[in-house]
């Protein structure tokens, strides 16, 4: 009896699902993919809280492949696309970029492709993304808050791919378009992903000389804005300020101070983003080794 009940329940669910499938024309895979989104929410949260870099490094690829499998069943699922784009970004930045920039470039591209597919729901096509920036701006400026996650992860993956592909004029020309996507994120939801848009602009203005469109004052202001959103708990902000702005501004003392503080910050002060902070510590230690070469 005790065994029969779950079986009966399971059968009922299957029949119910079959019924829904027949009625809606939806495939079973698609239903599973759609119902998995809430599980993925929890998965992303758990991964963000991970403190063991090795565990995270080994787990993320499996999660990516699981999500890509679900996408095969439900290719128009924007939530899945955005989660996958985020996972590619995190994996490439945290575990691949410093060791193998070519591989990281390809991973960022895959992340961008997923977020780009999500953007198609709002008629942001590949043609628009790769064409006249003015036309892209016209289309993107009409989007509402629901498009923010797709815009954010598309711009983030795209900008990192460009950062690793500076030998290619096509890539360099695309930089302006990434900024158009992020401008809309900043306008609609400046606190999305702990002020990620401000962080983007900190790097955007801080990583280039003024003659190339850089602006150190604006970079400073954007890093400060990002700190405010996360209550100064996200160590990645200091790392990116050192790596891009202070290097470009040629301020060795500030570069050293920011990175040393990050490397010495004890674990546990921001458990919701523990993994990002662990990655930041590792990157800070790597960048401190570059200090002698860069200054």
């Amino acid at each position: 009896m005790t065994l029969l009940k779950p079986l009966t329940t399971s059968l009922s669910i299957q029949l119910l699902l079959l019924g829904i499938t027949l009625l809606s024309g939806c495939s079973m895979g698609k239903i599973v993919a759609r119902s998995s989104t809430s599980i993925l929410d929890g998965g992303v949260d758990a991964m963000n809280r991970e403190t063991d870099l090795l565990l995270a490094e080994q787990a993320i690829p499996a999660n990516i492949k699981l999500m890509e499998g679900l996408i095969t069943e439900d290719p128009d699922n924007q939530d899945l696309r955005v989660y996958t784009a985020q996972a590619f970004y995190g994996y490439a930045y945290g575990f691949v970029e410093l060791a193998d920039s070519e591989r990281a470039k390809a991973l960022y591209q895959r992340g961008f492709d997923h977020a780009g597919k999500a953007l198609q729901r709002w008629h942001i096509t590949d043609e628009l993304l790769q064409g006249d920036p003015d036309k892209l701006h016209q289309a993107v400026s009409k989007l509402n808050k629901s498009a923010v996650p797709a815009l954010f992860w598309a711009a983030s993956n795209w900008a990192k791919r460009i950062d690793l592909d500076r030998t290619n004029p096509t890539s360099i020309a695309e930089l302006a378009s990434t900024e158009i996507l992020m401008r809309q994120v900043l306008k609609l939801q400046p606190d999305y992903y702990y002020g990620g848009a401000s962080l983007f602009y900190g790097v955007y203005y801080g990583s280039r000389a003024p003659m190339f469109g850089g602006d150190f004052t604006r970079a400073d202001a954007n890093f400060s804005a990002a700190r405010k959103v996360s209550n100064n708990r996200l160590l990645l902000i200091d790392v990116l300020q050192a790596e891009y702005l202070e290097r470009q501004r040629f301020d060795q003392a500030k570069f050293h101070q920011l990175l040393t503080e990050v490397a010495n910050t004890p674990q546990g002060h921001f458990p919701e983003m523990a993994l990002a902070n662990q990655i930041a510590r590792a990157r800070a230690r790597y960048l401190l080794i570059k200090e002698e070469e860069w200054f």
Partner: protein, 343 residues
């Protein structure tokens, strides 16, 4: 490779050892600045140069690069070289004009029509240029090219008259640009190159000049709609080091630096030409309208403007008359091989 703690520390240790062994024990360190961003084609080629020099000198000569304008724009870098804070740099014609201005004869407006013409004349004049840099306390190690410079504008510019009603940028302190605009009877807006992007945004200027690649690298292309396809000039550049640094090198390292610098210059010229071609395609794709050469002013008028600009530069002794005449003769010889004089 992974970034777990143990393996990350190993990587750090290995990198640390490599860095210490590469730079710390070199007898000569060449601090070299460039506007080329880290990771760009130019920077990669410069790093290949450094690697070759370090290997062939068995670590006695080490480069330390400052890419992406970290050390400031060209006048800043030149000042730092004169104070020996830096020893070398990759300069465009703007910076070179402050070292040995006659070399900018290669940038006279509307002079060269093709890369082949440029290459021919430059090859003939190179010994004179090298001597000129030497006499002005620098060594010219390699020749570079920024590429053919075009007018980029928010409104169509088909003729020079069209430019008279526009707000046209002039690179502040550039005698070559000033002479060209004076000859064309255009009143430009002199600005530092640092202010161009912002000034295009605010409308202080609406017309600039640049190569296709530079218009992308500096993101100016996002602020304009048109490119006039008649090139103004073929902008040049050079790899230079101070004589204060060069003269203290042993003879074998001087030879090594010259030989590899020249080869690097050739690779840079070739890569720049390729990237400028790719950039033209990219500009088209991104909505820039090209205004064809035959929509513009007559060749005769362009030549007249060039000659007026040249007279202005001769009068300032920026480029000697004798060098301008010699350049024109060489160009004539190239275009008319059957009547060539023996230059």
């Amino acid at each position: 490779m992974v970034l777990n703690n143990k393996r990350f520390l190993s990587v750090i240790l290995i990198l640390g050892i490599l860095l210490v062994s590469r730079g710390a024990f070199a007898a000569h360190v060449l601090k070299f600045a460039t506007l080329a961003p880290a990771g760009s084609t130019w920077m990669n080629l410069l790093e290949d140069w450094a690697t070759e020099v370090e290997q062939r000198s068995e670590g006695r000569l080490h480069f330390k690069f400052y890419p992406g304008g970290i050390q400031g724009d060209e006048p800043d870098v030149l000042k730092k070289i004169r104070f020996n804070q830096l020893q070398g740099a990759a300069f465009s014609g703007h910076g070179i004009g402050q070292i040995y201005s006659p070399a900018r004869v290669m940038e006279l407006p509307y002079l060269f029509n093709s890369f082949a013409e440029t290459d021919f004349v430059r090859e003939k004049l190179m010994p004179e240029f090298e001597q000129g840099f030497h006499d002005n306390q620098f060594e010219l190690l390699g020749w570079m090219e920024i590429g053919f410079v075009h007018i980029f504008s928010k409104e169509p510019v088909r003729t020079l008259d069209d430019m008279k009603s526009r707000r046209v940028w002039l690179w502040q302190g550039d005698p070559m640009g000033k002479a060209f605009f004076k000859a064309s009877k255009i009143q430009p807006v002199p600005l530092s190159i640092i202010d161009v992007y912002t000034s295009l945004s605010t409308g202080l200027i609406d017309t600039v000049y640049s190569t296709p690649l530079a218009s992308i690298a500096m993101q100016w292309f996002t602020k304009v709609k048109y490119m006039n396809d008649t090139p103004l000039t073929n902008a040049m550049g050079g790899l230079v080091v101070s004589r204060r640094f060069f003269d203290r090198l042993p003879a074998d390292l001087q030879t090594l630096l010259r030989e590899t610098g020249k080869a690097t210059g050739k690779r840079l010229v070739s890569a720049t030409r390729e990237d400028n071609q790719k950039s033209r395609d990219e500009l088209r794709k991104r909505g820039i309208t090209f205004i064809a050469s035959d929509e513009g002013i007559s060749t005769e008028k362009l030549i007249a403007i060039r000659d007026i600009a040249a007279s202005e530069l001769m009068a300032q002794n920026y480029i000697p008359e004798q060098l301008i005449e010699r350049t024109k003769t060489l160009l004539h010889d190239y275009r008319n091989p059957h009547t060539a004089t023996n230059n």
